[in-house]
């Protein structure tokens, strides 16, 4: 046996990179076709499309584990003993990234922006709906507040024929998913009285300024997005192609026809806007 030990060590050394590589198994989903495209002549130069990610229904054992985890969070970790539902598609198990390319098809330079909205299994965020809510009672131009943006890198200018490649990274999604969960589940009961304006939740990164997330339980399990919506804004004729990259730690994406689909019904997030006195 002693004779073989160096060889066994060599074999394990050779196998280690292969095993490490096997952890890198993302699944990709192309954005819908036709691609996002604007001619530069639109009254509102914005266009959106989205991908609904399909997940499998949890098994009975997995449902019980989620229930047990929620009970443990309520009993031990939250001093207020609130009900903390543990989502099936959670941020710590499902990691998203969007990779996109914008091409200027025009003969002149123009400005563009790409933003991401979406829905968790609990709530859907649509920046068009939010902009309409913000616009109520005034004639100002709509203000669009995306769930996830690359500001201040974008908006940017793109010359004729040029291409821009960008990534909404996993940490960008983690931030947006936490924002959506904070707005959906953890706002004070009377938002008119003591809640900060909801844009503060979207604009500030939690690690810099956790404004508006004070009520979020420390051990909350944040839902990941199950729907990804990408919006292109452009002042000239431009096209955007994108795809979603998913790292699915616990094999929760649906791929086996024997499994039932997980069909959440997220409710549309409607911001509470304080009336102007």
């Amino acid at each position: 046996m002693a004779t073989y030990r160096p060889l066994l060590a060599l074999a394990f050394a050779a196998a280690a990179p292969a095993l490490a590589c096997s952890n890198n198994t993302p699944i990709y989903f192309n954005g819908p076709t036709p691609l996002l495209e604007l001619t530069g002549q639109e009254m509102i130069p914005r266009i959106t499309n989205g991908v609904q990610l399909k997940f499998r229904e949890p098994t009975d054992d997995e449902k019980k584990a989620l229930t047990d985890q929620a009970a443990a969070l309520k009993a031990a970790d939250d001093p207020m003993h609130r009900d903390i539902k543990v989502p099936w598609v959670s941020r710590d198990k499902v990691h998203l990234e969007v990779i996109f390319t914008v091409t200027n098809l025009d003969t002149e330079a123009g400005m563009f922006d790409v933003t991401v909205d979406g829905a968790s299994e609990n709530a859907k965020f649509d920046e068009d709906v939010v902009a309409m809510a913000l616009q109520q009672g005034n004639n100002d131009a709509p203000t669009y507040l995306p769930l996830i943006s690359l500001h201040p890198q974008l908006p940017a200018s793109l010359g004729p024929g040029e291409t821009y490649q960008g990534i909404f990274r996993e940490d960008d999604f983690a931030e947006g998913e936490a924002d959506l969960d904070a707005l959906d589940r953890w706002q004070p009961a009377d938002p008119m009285m003591d809640a900060p304006p909801f844009p503060a939740v979207l604009i500030n990164r939690k690690d810099v300024d956790p404004v508006g997330t004070e009520a979020v339980p420390a051990q909350v399990v944040t839902p990941a997005l199950v729907e990804v919506d990408v919006t292109l804004t452009a002042s000239k004729h431009m096209q955007c192609e994108w795809l979603v990259r998913v790292r699915d730690d616990d094999d929760r994406l649906w791929h086996d026809k024997a499994d039932a689909h997980f069909n959440p019904k997220p409710k549309l997030y409607q911001p509470m806007i304080a009336a102007t006195p």
Binding site: A14, A18, C21, T25, N30, T101, T163, Q165, W242
Partner: protein, 195 residues
């Protein structure tokens, strides 16, 4: 006189005088290393040809073989090979993504020996698996990431003065049925250990 003749008759035959030292390097007998269990570790490169070649860049490869010389000229071996690549898709977002391939084959190997050198040819059948579904999104691969692989190649082996070790160079071409009948060219150098 008679005594002298008797002495000559019974004396042992005279031996030739050694006029040079024996060779310091004695090449081991192939009968001792060309039989039985062996392992190989290999490093090299994998390049795709055909439709997958338009979508995947050549990449670094590492592999291993475990085989058994049934005869001095024929062996059966299991081969595992992993390689890592970047996708090619121009300016599309599917480009420049990491993708790994894992190939496992059962092979037969024929060897022709010339002292320390030997030439060999080998071929087999197995499976190839991709780490992601990106080639499906690029229209190269079918829905499933595991497919049939078959092919072979050959190489040259140099056996060291140690009974156990040899090194070599090999090239192989595999047909990948489920990657739109693409092919991959594998070129590796290896270290072999015979037990």
């Amino acid at each position: 006189m008679a005594a002298l003749l008797i002495a000559i008759a019974v004396a042992p035959a005279a031996r030739a005088q050694v006029t040079k030292e024996p060779e310091a390097a004695i090449f081991p007998d192939p009968k001792k290393f060309a039989r039985g269990l062996y392992t190989e570790g290999e490093v090299g490169a994998v390049a795709f040809l055909g439709p997958a070649g338009d979508a995947v860049s050549p990449g670094f490869a590492i592999g291993t073989r475990v085989g058994y010389d049934l005869f001095s000229f024929f062996a059966l071996q299991l081969h595992g090979l992993g390689s890592t690549h970047l996708t090619k898709a121009g300016t599309r977002p599917q480009g420049d993504q990491l993708i790994q391939t894992y190939q496992g084959t059962l092979e037969g190997k024929l060897t022709l020996r010339f002292g320390q050198l030997s030439l060999f040819g080998e071929g087999g059948i197995g499976v190839v698996r991709l780490s992601t579904n990106l080639l499906y999104q690029l229209g190269v691969e079918q829905q499933y990431r595991t497919g049939l692989a078959a092919g072979g190649g050959g190489g040259i082996d140099y056996h060291s003065l140690s009974r156990h070790f040899s090194i070599g160079l090999r090239g192989e071409l595999y047909w990948l049925r489920d990657l739109s009948s693409s092919k991959d060219l594998v070129v590796t150098t290896y270290l072999r250990y015979t037990f």
